[in-house]
């Protein structure tokens, strides 16, 4: 009878034993297990993403010829426009290079771009992170900038074998140096805690008092190259409101981010050429025991 009663608690005992084992397990083993589990799971996410692509392919197949012809025409126009722009960019790059040589200026850091599809986006972390379908296999480093046609997407936070996790510009854990358009003094942009499907917001700090904005006359906030991670001039969002800080000189305010960030399908990872390992600083480890208060 007693044995029977004990067997009722068997699952609970197993759980407790497992938790105790996890608790005493060395941190390295824990991390290895976590990474292993993630890598094991990653192909499923990638496969799911490929299936979505296939699904959209078949959806497109179902479209009429007329629609396809119109889309093809639009695409041709876009291609023509981009070709012209590419030509302009080439001549501008040549001119910049010529001026740099002439003035003996150090050249701007070069980047290469790795285009990647978005593999996964969790509802619980909608404005915090996305998973992209490229990782260490494409030489993506931790800390690299991620951009899209609308501007800044975020930074690579974790790199796995075939996937990477990108911390979004709308995440409260994201911070970068920026410039208000027309101002050369750097300011700080920081993400906020945004609930899923809301309009994403961020905040801007250390804006000089001379900068004036209003919701009807917002100012574009763009990336600064001073931090060495993002190329210059990529749109972060629009500064719609500024309030004076307590020091009487700087202001802080709200940044309206592009809602298109909620529908990302494809992004580009910006990888600095020559220095593909962006230093990421870890918080210093803290020991477990604590003695009397300081």
């Amino acid at each position: 009878m007693a044995l029977k009663r004990l067997s009722q608690f068997k699952p609970l005992v197993v759980l407790l034993v497992f938790l105790a084992a996890w608790w005493v397990m060395p941190v390295m083993v824990k991390r290895w297990l976590q990474t292993g589990f993630y890598e094991f799971q990653a192909p499923l996410s990638a496969a799911e993403s490929h299936l979505e692509d296939l699904q959209s392919y078949w959806t497109l197949r179902g479209q009429s010829k007329r629609e396809m012809i119109e889309a093809g025409r639009d695409l041709a126009r876009e291609n023509a426009r981009l070709t012209v722009q590419l030509q302009d960019n080439r001549s501008l790059a040549a001119e910049i290079s010529r001026l740099e040589t002439l003035l003996d200026l150090p050249s701007h850091p070069d980047f290469r771009y790795e285009v990647a599809r978005v593999a996964r986006r969790d509802l619980s972390a909608w404005w915090q992170q996305i998973t992209i379908r490229k990782g260490a296999n494409y030489g993506i480093p931790v800390g690299a900038a991620v951009i899209y046609k609308g501007g800044v997407v975020g930074r690579v936070r974790e790199v796995h074998a075939t996937t990477s996790i990108v911390e979004l510009v709308s995440s409260s854990g994201f911070r970068m140096a920026a410039n208000v358009v027309g101002e050369d003094r750097p300011v700080t942009y920081q993400g906020l805690l945004n609930p899923p499907f809301s309009n994403p917001l961020g905040e801007v700090l250390n804006v000089p008092a001379a900068v004036k904005v209003s919701p009807s006359q917002p100012m574009r906030l763009v990336s600064s190259r001073l931090g060495g991670i993002f190329p210059e001039g990529l749109t972060i969002g629009e500064v719609v409101e500024l309030t004076p800080g307590s020091d009487g000189f700087f202001q802080q305010g709200r940044v309206q981010l592009n809602p298109d960030l909620g529908a990302l399908r494809e992004v580009a990872v910006v990888i600095p050429i020559g220095d593909e390992t962006t230093p990421a600083v870890e918080r210093p480890p803290a020991t477990q025991e604590a003695v009397r208060g300081d």
Binding site: A177, F249, V281, P284, A286, A290
Partner: protein, 642 residues
């Protein structure tokens, strides 16, 4: 039955009741006294013990030129800091770790001896180690090798505990951006921002703008409550020189502050009880024109001297330049010792425009002429024979360049700057009249310009002055010397510019100011009319026009399309190193409708410097005139002349 004795009242119990009652009343009264009557006092003590005030100065206002260009502003100043209260747990953990390590080490080395250690020293070291760890993170990102010293840490702990501890100060914008992007957001390292004075034009107008230093008297705390609380101050600044000092009250911002509750370890917790935002000070709009100032200073180059330009009508100072100068940005956010030493060595701290006392040389000749004309001893058309020398007593006074100008009237005398002519005219007028005329133009007193330390010991010599100084006797030779602006005559370039402006307006006094009035209201300069007839005045101005013409001594001041009335001067003064030359230019333009008056003096440094008013000072004046008239419609000027 056996409990009956409880029912019977024993009168002896009354004593106990009375005693207990009295004790209760005493206790209750004591409690009431402390809780009700002394409540305020206890509350005050508690506040004093638990509350701390942090005062932050408001940023200073900007200094602008007359067109709204920022001459002095504020720039953000970034520092990487940590708030020590956020690291307390880490301090404890580090302390414990170090203690264990020491204990282990001791046990291995001396197992039989008891373990002893200096816990205070260990605590400091553990704190230092934690802070160094965070500093190393910054070092990795910025490629620096900053180290935290125990002394810095202790000083901060004892005097600024509530303020952020600076790990790396005065970060460049690039360093700031790199830290922002590469430090994790949850890191205790914070980027602290405050302001430092910024001088967009570097050394330009440095003497006029002035600089700031740490305020020895601390910050004004008027607007922040809790005067009796223990207070921590952020550094504040006070104007030390120039406009920064003159308008310090206006420029000073309004302080902000916070009142915090602190725990028993004196660290603040929770949010501040009171938070008052600081406010930026008011702006000062000066009369300076930065384009003119830049033109003047560029034309002066590396030479030593001063240049002043005034608006003739309002007396507003358009240019106030003194060379050598110093880069104001080397004096902000603190004065770098090297920059200070260099400035002292070069004499660059000295504002020659307002403090330099110079013999005015031939630019004084107009005053001699006016004195003679007003006293009826010189007619504007009268000619005098001017040879190579003029004898005064036993002494021969030479013409400049040993030239002989023949028959000379006042026009030609000014044009050619004939010394011999003015020896004669000066002797006719007499020293009393010349000195009185100079004093009438305000050359014996400071102009009253707003910036501090204007020279007060200018000299317009008279026989009485000579007697008072050393009991000496005034001679006719002294009068001859003063007649051509030499001898014991000493004035500042600013005074001479004010004289030029007064002469241009046919008045005797110009109220100079460094403040710009955008309304350009008419100004009462407080002087009197010049006291010359039109013919007399025209004769002097024609002489000055001719001097600034193709054949005149001031021809290097000529500007196309603008008639300038000018006069050069070359004075020699004795210095310990020998006789050095002062090159002067004085003038105004346009001659018929004067708008701007200019005085320039360039100072030879060694006896060999071949400076001359025409060659050295006039080009500086031309640069000022050219820039001034560059954006003016000359047809308007000509129309107004007619």
């Amino acid at each position: 039955m056996k409990f009956d004795h409880f029912k019977q009242w024993n009168p002896r119990l009354n004593i106990f009741f009375l005693a207990f009652g009295a004790m209760f009343v005493v206790l209750a009264s004591g409690l009431a006294w402390r809780q009700l009557i002394l409540r305020g006092e206890w509350k005050e003590k508690e506040d004093r013990q638990n509350l701390r005030r942090v005062i932050q100065p408001g940023p200073r206002g900007d200094i602008l030129d007359r067109h709204g260009n920022i001459l002095v502003g504020n720039r953000p100043r970034f520092s990487a800091v940590v708030y020590l209260r956020e690291l307390r747990e880490e301090f404890d953990q580090e302390y414990s770790k170090m203690l264990n390590a020491m204990r282990e080490q001791h046990r291995e080395a001396n197992p039989d001896e008891p373990f002893r250690f200096d816990w205070q020293q260990l605590r400091w070291e553990s704190r230092q180690r934690v802070l160094q760890r965070y500093t190393d993170q910054i070092n990795v990102i910025l490629g620096t090798d900053k180290e935290i010293t125990l002394r810095d840490l202790q000083r901060h702990y004892w005097s600024k505990l509530l303020m952020p501890f600076p790990l790396m100060g005065d970060l460049e914008p690039e360093e700031y951006a790199r830290l922002i992007e590469q430090l994790p957001l949850g890191s205790p390292i914070d980027i602290y921002t405050d302001t430092a004075r910024d001088y967009p034009f570097g050394p330009t107008a440095c003497h006029t703008l002035g600089y700031v230093v740490a305020n020895p008297e601390g910050i004004k705390e008027d607007a922040i409550p809790g005067e009796d609380l223990k207070t921590f101050h952020y550094k504040s600044e006070v104007g030390k020189n120039g406009l920064e000092k003159a308008f310090d009250d206006q420029l000073q911002g309004t302080s902000g502050g916070e009142i915090w509750v602190v725990d028993r370890f004196q660290f603040q917790y929770d949010k501040p009880l009171v938070e008052i935002a600081a406010k930026q000070g008011n702006d000062v709009i000066t009369s300076l024109d930065i384009d003119l100032q830049l033109a003047a200073e560029e034309a002066m180059g590396d030479k030593t001297g001063a240049a002043v330009a005034l608006d003739v009508k309002t007396g507003e100072v358009l240019v106030l330049a003194s060379k050598p100068g110093y880069n104001l940005n080397d004096f902000s956010p603190f004065i770098r010792q090297e920059a200070w030493n260099q400035a002292v060595e070069q004499g660059a701290l000295y504002n020659r425009a307002t403090q330099g006392l110079y013999a005015p040389g031939s630019t004084f000749k107009m005053i001699t002429a006016i004195a003679a004309m007003r006293n009826g001893v010189l007619d504007q058309d009268e000619t005098l024979e001017c040879g190579t020398h003029y004898r005064v007593g036993n002494r021969l006074f030479p013409e400049h360049s040993h030239a002989s100008f023949g028959e000379v009237d006042v026009r030609k005398a000014i044009q050619k700057s004939s010394n011999v002519y003015f020896y004669q005219v000066g002797l006719r007028a007499g020293i009393e009249n010349i000195a009185a005329e100079a004093k009438r133009f305000g050359l014996a007193e400071p102009t009253g310009i707003e910036i501090p330390y204007e020279a007060t010991r200018m000299i317009v010599p008279t026989p009485e002055w000579r007697k008072e100084r050393d009991g000496g006797i005034w001679t006719l030779g002294d009068t001859a010397n003063v007649s051509i602006g030499q001898g014991d005559l000493f004035v500042t370039p600013l005074q001479m510019a004010a004289f030029a402006a007064s002469l241009a307006r046919r008045e005797t006094h110009t109220r100079v100011t460094l403040l710009h009035d955008p309304q350009q209201k008419p100004v009462d300069h407080g002087g009197e009319p010049l006291g010359l007839t039109d013919e007399q005045y025209r004769a002097i101005v024609e002489g000055m026009e001719a001097a600034a013409g193709p054949q005149g001594t001031a021809r290097f001041a000529m500007v196309d399309g603008v008639q300038i009335a000018g006069k050069t001067g070359t004075a020699q003064v004795k210095r310990p190193s020998g006789k050095i030359t002062l090159a002067w230019f004085l003038g105004f333009a346009p001659a018929e409708n004067p708008q701007i008056a200019v005085a320039v003096v360039m100072e030879g440094l060694v006896p060999g410097d071949h400076y001359a008013g025409g060659k050295t000072a006039a080009p500086v004046a031309r640069a000022i005139f050219e820039t001034y008239f560059a954006d003016k419609d000359l047809s308007d000027l000509l129309a107004s002349q007619q």
